[in-house]
């Protein structure tokens, strides 16, 4: 039988994974809603946000109680610190999914603007980064986490490309300004999701290797 200590650590992890599962579902729904312009799906994403927020609060509560009761050290201490940091990251990813869902009807208004495929590709990349970051957390795989961080550049490049294309479009066709701005905003929300997956991955490296890689240039990483 597992000791109370282990059971409580398991409960923190289980809560994070439940929250992460909901966030991943939200991102999958956003991708489908963008493709199908399904407004009900978009409303569902918005509705799920309150529940995700409550998981963030619950993770903080569990982690605070754990620290007060057990004064963890070493890996256990890092595990709890990382749990407290992952909650807000997941919550912000969900917020960005909501932001995209709220723009959905404008985005879907015909005629669609051209970089829609790029937007979907960007969302696919960012969503995969989130899923892989969660998998790296579960597997405590610092190598995989570093690989995810390296993928952020591709998302940034797509964001920049969409931004440039929309500027050109707005100059050419002032009637498209509203839709083009929505497109720029959505790209920006997706770019933030990839950043949040990067943050999660950085925390995974800290969890495993005990040293922070935040704000450290990739080419100086001590791997």
């Amino acid at each position: 039988m597992k000791r109370q200590f282990e059971q409580e650590l398991d409960e923190i992890k289980r809560t994070i994974l439940t929250m992460a599962g909901m966030v991943e579902k939200g991102l999958a729904d956003v991708a489908r809603a963008l493709t199908t312009c399904d407004s009900e799906l978009a409303n569902g994403i918005v509705a799920m946000d309150d529940e995700i927020d409550q998981y963030e609060v619950e993770i903080d509560r569990l982690a605070t109680e754990f620290i007060a009761k057990h004064q963890p050290t070493a890996t256990d201490l890092r595990f709890v610190i990382v749990a407290i940091k992952l909650g807000p990251e997941l919550e912000r990813i969900a917020d960005n999914a909501v932001n995209i869902a709220e723009r959905l009807l404008d985005i879907c208004r015909a005629p669609r603007l051209k970089p829609n495929d790029d937007l979907l590709r960007m969302l696919g990349l960012a969503s995969a980064m989130v899923s892989d970051a969660i998998a790296a957390y579960v597997a405590r795989d610092a190598g995989a986490a570093r690989g995810i961080i390296r993928r952020d550049d591709e998302v940034d490049a797509l964001n920049w490309s969409i931004f440039r294309a929309m500027i050109d479009r707005m100059v050419e066709d002032p009637d498209s300004i509203t839709r083009a701005i929505d497109m720029v905003l959505v790209a920006r929300f997706i770019e933030r999701i990839a950043d949040q997956a990067t943050n999660i991955s950085e925390e995974v490296v800290y969890l495993v290797e005990a040293h922070p890689i935040r704000h450290v240039r990739m080419d100086t990483w001590d791997e």
């Binding site: 057990h70 004064q71 050290t73 070493a74 201490l77 005990a210």
Partner: protein
């Protein structure tokens, strides 16, 4: 006393036997001056035995055998001709259970200096005041120095024992679980006292309270089955220990 190599206590290939029991195995360790070093490990790991090597308290046990070298301020204390009385004056000790003498507070503190030949009320009172201040007890007892030490609370008695050790003007303080029988407030006072004392003394402390080691110690040594498993700065020990077995111990997975 300032030492050229910066280490107050050292052991080199130290083996210790209780009869046939091999209690310490080839311990090599250097304890820096004017810092707090904690010894941790499960019961029976040898940490108290190791602590007691440094003022030869183990000599009082029959059938013990010591091999290797134990240095106090670079002097081999197991070599012939060592003055044990002088050694124990230089290396003071405080035990788990406070053991004030059945005398007044004043007499408890000036007992050591009187035995060492210090005379004169004024001189002795100076020592009493200085020692009680260093042990953070002066304010609480200055109006009742001639009351019995046995009337003090458990935490005050323990600080009195620290004052009594300090009255001999040691260079080094050995503490064997000094706060394990105390309530949290008394424990916190002892810990604060240790942090003050390390400015002038080298402190070696055995503790079962890992959080206490994390709070007060600059370095921590982890012992297990008579062996020194890991010795590192305390932050490293409690955030990212090198050895898996250390991690398992400090995270409470065994012991």
């Amino acid at each position: 006393m300032s030492q050229p190599n910066g280490f107050a206590l050292e052991s080199h290939d130290l083996d210790f036997f209780y009869g046939e029991v091999h209690a310490l195995k080839k311990i090599n360790l250097k304890i820096p001056q004017r810092q707090v070093t904690a010894l941790i490990g499960p019961s029976g790991c040898g940490k108290s035995t190791y602590l007691r090597c440094f003022n030869r308290m183990n000599d009082m046990i029959e059938g013990i055998r010591v091999e290797g070298r134990v240095l106090v301020e670079s002097e081999d204390i197991y070599s012939s001709g060592v003055d044990l009385e002088l050694l124990r004056k230089r290396v003071g000790m405080v035990f788990q259970k406070s053991n004030p003498f059945p005398m007044s507070i004043r007499e408890n503190v000036n007992y050591g200096p009187r035995m060492a030949g210090v005379r004169g009320r004024g001189r002795l009172d100076e020592i009493v005041e200085r020692s009680l201040k260093q042990a953070d007890l002066w304010v609480e007892v200055k109006e009742r120095l001639d009351d019995s030490a046995l009337d003090l609370s458990g935490g005050q008695q323990q600080r009195l024992c620290i004052a009594r050790a300090l009255a001999n003007e040691p260079d080094i303080l050995l503490l064997d679980e000094p706060a394990s029988a105390l309530d949290p407030i008394s424990t916190a006072k002892i810990e604060e006292t240790l942090l003050q004392l390390k400015q002038n003394y080298t402190i070696l402390i055995v503790t079962h309270n890992l959080q206490q080691a994390a709070r007060v110690a600059d370095q921590t040594a982890f012992f297990m089955l008579g062996e020194l498993v890991e010795f590192s700065d305390t932050t490293t020990m409690f955030t990212n220990p090198c050895e898996t077995i250390t991690e398992e111990y400090i995270t409470g997975r065994f012991g």
